[in-house]
Amino acid sequence: MNLDLRLDTQGDFYSQRFQPTEREDTLVLNMGPQHPSTHGVLRILLEIDGEYIIRAEPVLGYIHRMHEKMAEVMSYPQYLPNPGRTDYLHALAWNWAHVAAVERLMGIEVPERAEYIRVITCELNRISSHLLWWGAILLDLGAFTPIMYAFDDRERIQDIMQRNTGSRLTYCYYRFGGVSADIDDKFIEDTRAECARLKDRAKMFKDLVTDNFILRKRLEEIGEIPVDTCRKYGATGPVLRGSGQAYDVRRAEPYSIYDRFDFNIPVYDSCDSMGRYLVRMDEIQESIKIIEQALDTLPEGDYILPKAPKRPKPPAGDVYFAVEGARGKIGMHLVSDGGKSPYRLKLRAPGFSNLSLFSEVAQGTLISDAIAILASLDLVIPEIDR
């Protein structure tokens, strides 16, 4: 609906750069930044022949919020709420990556109980992120009802989470050396009830949506991403696992206490949108398994290191910490010069790599397919732009 949509205008910098084509019978369509299926302000320039896409080029930067620069001017505790706002759907994974990078550099040992609380809350957050994605992909495919059902469960999880994190969406719960508040019996009780409920709902989701004839036709054999393409662009998370490679940071380089839990890494070899869909649906169940195991073995103890530094000053050096987010591998590369704020903080956003392969995959597909592919990549635009 924007900028160079009129046939008679010349467009802005990006569309002018995109314009010169060899063929004359094509149309340059500008999808976004305000478009219902770009999930935010992603803008995609498409050259289309009829309904078929010849070229696709994402244009980024419409929600660039200077996260990396802010890390350099703010002290460590001041920067704490920011990672949660990069990827607001899986805020705790980013929060975790930031906190753990500092902890690793300073050599802080996190108490046992705090690690368990982190795992439980992070997995709950992953479920709520996947639920929202599930609703959103179906919204993009034209079915409006599933997002209502997804939000039904999501709201329950948010209620559980806000009890000890204090917020509904952009959580800032982890602190250097632990978490900000302990969990109580009501939290455990509610979480167990919600896990049982989600197991029940999974059957309904499958009957209502996953087995739907039209949905299968819309997703199967659409947007096939070979594993080589994934490697070339550095795609991680469900996109890579949907292409047949069982790479999960929780298993490949176990951080925290993930090596203590018994869970599967769902992998599908079909490489198509349906593979990515099924990976995420299975991951919800795997997260439930992890949460239940963690609740069963939750130890007593401190929820935060009593001697945890309020204003950390890590020694000079650099450290990299990776966390498995809902969208893939989240990485934080922290370079410290010993001051009260980092010298440099590099955020590795999985969405950026996952989006990069879009322009290759979208070639030759229909507009409707391109939207299905885009939705199956599960993009969060502020995370891509940072």
Binding site: L5, R6, L7, P36, G142, A143, N212, I214, R218, S368
Partner: protein, 327 residues
């Protein structure tokens, strides 16, 4: 002689006014119904609070929406062909109203009883394709253009099985007169044509969904793909006209289905308009139910369904019908 012609005109004039009221009222009821059914499916109340306490459950919501749309600014976008731009909503809504002239609402409630009623309806509903095409073309909008292109290929493709299905019923009855078709069926459900032509009913229902651009075939206005498709650039009342036309065509489709397959105004006990409206609204409810349940099909799949499945099945149905009649 001089007296006779004006009487006919007066009947048509009064009839048209009544139909306009009926179409308007239907749209209001359907908008409310659609939202309430959607709310029921989504497990939420839907429109609830709007209106004074004497009108509970948000009954006044569609009226507020309608009046708001009347009060909106309307304008022609830059670069648009203003004549065609404003012609499109009008030729979208006008044929829909004409269609109702020949529909027998009850044993004595029909404005014109004509031999070619069914042909008239099929001809006038075809104009909607042109209206949507003009709307998409004239608004100088790329999404509108794609929406228009989709609408033409969809509308043209689905006319064929629709006509073939109608033809098989017409061969059974030997008439295009809607009143005679309805009158020829008995009062009880096993005397209706749906028993003899179950396949034709299913095919007609699918085609009707596609012709009225309802989910899962709502490709011309596919919200998540083309923002709002052919009516992306329309605001206020012009947009409302398209909405009104969509609901009017839904009612027309449901009316034809009720007449051809479900016995029209016939029913156990006394035949009358109540039976007719009840059947029409059951069909409309099913349409709404489908809309809120299924995802949208893709464009090539839509055409494949038509050319690979519906048309061969419709031809088969026609041949079987002819064979049975000939025997």
């Amino acid at each position: 002689m001089i007296e006779a012609i004006p009487t006919q005109f007066i009947i048509i004039f009064v009839g048209l006014l009544a139909i306009m009221a009926f179409v308007g009222l239907n749209a209001v009821v359907l908008v409310y119904l659609e939202r309430k059914v959607a709310g029921f499916i989504h497990r939420r109340p839907g429109p609830y609070e709007v209106g004074p306490p004497c009108f509970p459950h948000g009954i006044l919501q569609p009226i507020a929406d309608g009046l708001k749309l009347v009060g909106k600014q309307i304008f022609t976008p830059k670069g648009a062909d203003s004549f065609l731009f404003w012609l499109a909503p009008m030729i979208s809504i006008a044929p829909a109203i004409v269609c109702f002239i020949v529909i027998p609402f009850g044993p004595k409630l029909q404005i014109i009883n004509t031999n070619v009623g069914l042909i008239l309806i099929l001809a006038f509903t075809g104009i909607n394709v042109l209206a949507l095409c003009l709307a998409g073309w004239a608004s100088q909008n790329k999404y509108g253009l794609i929406g228009a292109a989709r609408d033409i290929s969809q509308g043209v493709a689905y006319e064929i099985p629709l006509l073939l299905v109608v033809l098989s019923v017409v061969f059974m009855t030997g008439t295009f007169n809607l009143f005679d078709i309805a009158d020829g069926q008995g009062a009880w459900p096993w005397q209706w044509y749906i028993v003899y032509q179950p396949l034709a009913f299913v095919l007609f229902f699918i085609c009707a969904l596609a012709e009225t651009n309802r989910n899962p075939f709502d490709l011309p206005e596919a919200e998540s793909e083309l923002t709002a498709g052919f009516h992306t650039e329309y605001s206020g009342m012009a947009f409302a006209c398209f909405f009104l036309a969509e609901y009017a065509y839904m009612v027309v489709a449901a009316c034809i289905m009720a007449i051809l397959f479900l016995g029209g105004f016939q029913g156990p006990g006394a035949p009358g308009i109540w039976w007719f409206l009840a059947k029409v609204y059951v069909l409309l409810l099913i349409m709404i139910w489908i809309r809120w349940t299924f995802p949208r099909v893709r464009f090539d799949q839509l055409l494949n369904i038509c050319w690979k499945w519906l048309i061969p099945l419709a031809v088969l149905n026609l041949l079987i019908t002819l064979a049975v009649i000939a025997l």
